[in-house]
């Protein structure tokens, strides 16, 4: 009897905690938790030969944003603070100069864009502009479109555009996006205040 009992001794699990701690510390050191977030953009494809005659766009359908090497903004030939940019851009996109856009709330000014589909935002920066400023300007321009889409979604569908699920409301999102298509064009940077 005594012999039988001794045949299967209990395994010493006292160092189990030490081993687990070791693994835990390894994972703590080698991994990171930061999630990657950022502004998604699409670059235009590269073409060896420059397009000779770009399609003509009416001057009033272009919203020019210039950023100089001192991170100052010139919007439609006017000095502007970054905090005013979003509002100005929204006014421009939503202007509805030719009256073809039924959901727009713009002022229908003749010197501003015809409708959201024709409105193009042209962005040009200097080579000396800081990246932080560039991202801020991009952010404001994207936000202008997002805010307009948000308003449109609230009115047409009674729910928030930002809160929509990308799978469930796929078709709705498509409609809203085509109501205010994002048209931001970037020109080659200037090299003045290098």
């Amino acid at each position: 009897m005594a012999r039988n009992k001794r045949a299967i001794p209990e395994i010493n699990a006292g160092s189990m905690a030490d081993i687990a701690f070791l693994l835990l510390i390894f994972y703590l050191v080698t991994t990171t938790m930061d999630t990657d977030k950022g502004i998604n953009r699409k670059l235009p494809p590269w073409d060896e030969e420059l397009v000779e005659d770009p399609p003509p766009i009416k001057e009033r359908n272009i919203f020019t944003v210039l950023v100089n090497s001192n991170d100052q903004l010139l919007v439609e030939d006017e000095y502007l603070e970054i905090s005013q940019l979003r509002e100005k851009a929204m006014e421009f996109i939503d202007n509805n100069g030719d009256g073809s856009c039924v959901y727009c709330k713009g002022y229908k000014v003749t010197s501003s864009s015809d409708n959201p589909d024709k409105a193009v935002i042209s962005l040009q920066n200097d080579r000396g502009t800081s990246y932080g400023m560039y991202v801020k300007v991009q952010n404001e321009l994207v936000a202008a479109y997002e805010d307009l889409r948000e308003k449109y979604a609230e009115e047409e569908y009674g729910k928030s555009y930002r809160g929509m699920d990308s799978d469930e409301d796929k078709d709705v999102i498509k409609v809203i996006k085509s109501a205010y298509p994002q048209k931001i064009s970037e020109a080659e940077p200037l090299n003045i205040g290098g």
Binding site: A17, A20, T32, M33, D36, G38, K42, I82, G132
Partner: protein, 164 residues
């Protein structure tokens, strides 16, 4: 009497630690699931810009990173202080970007290649000249989906103040 005396001599019983491995394993599994492996050893300092209209990068395996910023203090005597590009674990020049993108694309499977995203992680003080050069190289390499890596600001008002 004798029995009581014996008990007093023993003092406090040892704390039962048999559940300790379980607790530690639980922590371990949490960290294994919630974190990702650190990709590279950063050689440039990157203080990301802040933005509100940010989206999460969905499939990590399809994302390739390009870092730009001034070299960290311990690399400064060798590489100077002006902004540099870092690809993988090494400093690179602008001419390396195109080859790097093509090489990275080769490692992805055929159907995933059009979905490849380039994440530009640059310091906010970097001049746009460098970023424009990177963008031109990416266009030449047909890597058109890009993402300007930024942080969600804690205080939105601070975005518009002049110092940052």
């Amino acid at each position: 009497m004798a029995v009581i005396k014996k008990k007093k001599e023993k003092g406090l019983p040892a704390v039962n630690t048999s559940a300790l491995p379980d607790i530690v394993f639980m922590l371990l599994f949490f960290f294994m699931v919630a974190t990702v492996m650190r990709e590279v050893d950063l050689k440039v300092s990157v203080n990301k810009p802040q933005a509100t209209e940010i989206q999460k990068l969905e499939r990590k395996s399809l994302v390739t990173y390009i870092y730009a910023g001034s070299p960290r203090v311990n690399y400064q005597d060798k590489f100077g202080r002006s902004a540099r590009i870092q690809l993988n674990d090494a400093f690179a020049t602008i001419d390396d970007v195109q080859a790097f993108v093509i090489q990275e694309r080769e490692t992805k499977s055929e159907e995933d290649r059009p979905m490849m995203t380039m994440s530009i992680k640059a310091d906010k003080s970097v001049k746009m000249g460098l970023i424009s050069d990177i963008k031109l190289q990416l266009r030449k390499a047909q890597a058109l989906k890009i993402n300007y890596s930024s942080l969600q600001p804690k205080d939105v008002e601070a975005l518009y103040s002049s110092e940052n």
